[in-house]
Symmetry: C2
Subunit: 118 residues, 2 copies
């Protein structure tokens, strides 16, 4: 199953897990021991994180090491960045509009009160 990276980040426990294993890959039990919910609950979070590509689980003997995949976060920062561009363009358009108005004010004869442009 594949899953949305935004959804993966939605849960605070999952974000904490990511921070934790960013420092150093840990096996499932080690990750779980840092939280006060059950190992199974943490395992489910890890599964979700791996389903959205933020984590890979590497078998090593009887343990499985959880390794962070921060490249996946690019999808998030890309979205935010693209969003900012839309937002910025919006103001560029407004600026352009205001400039145009300014230009018109200068080149147009000052109309009388109640005057009407052709």
């Amino acid at each position: 199953m594949t899953r949305d990276v935004f959804q993966g980040l939605a849960d605070p426990t999952r974000r904490e897990i990511l921070t934790m294993i960013a420092h150093k890959s840990l096996n499932v039990n080690s990750v779980a021991s840092n939280f006060d919910v059950s190992r199974t609950a943490i395992y489910k979070h890890l599964k979700i994180l791996s389903e959205c590509g933020l984590v890979v689980l590497q078998q090593q003997g009887r343990e499985r090491y959880c390794e962070a995949r921060p490249e996946k976060l690019n999808e998030v920062s890309d979205w935010v960045e693209q969003y900012r561009q839309i937002w910025t363009k919006r103001f560029d358009a407004l600026d352009a509009y205001l400039m145009k108005i300014q230009a018109q004010k200068k080149t147009t004869a000052k109309p009388k009160k109640h005057g009407r442009k052709k």
Copy 2:
């Protein structure tokens, strides 16, 4: 009620709404008309978005305009950025370790096969 901005972004419909109103503020009905779910469903999404500060709803006559608040996205990019720093430092530490090993190799006498240091 206040809400987590990551949770606000978790739903794809909500991200679409944000993109939509980034271009131009729209009233609730206009937003809803762009989706094929009910107006009430969109209203709920808008409520969630406003609860996490990504949107403000401005009353104007009988309409309510939905205005994007992209500053709130800083919380997201900040988190991602901070995360990348942790990740990067991790490799810096590894680099430092490898450099140290390299240095030791150079200064230590080449041991015999099966030889033991110290």
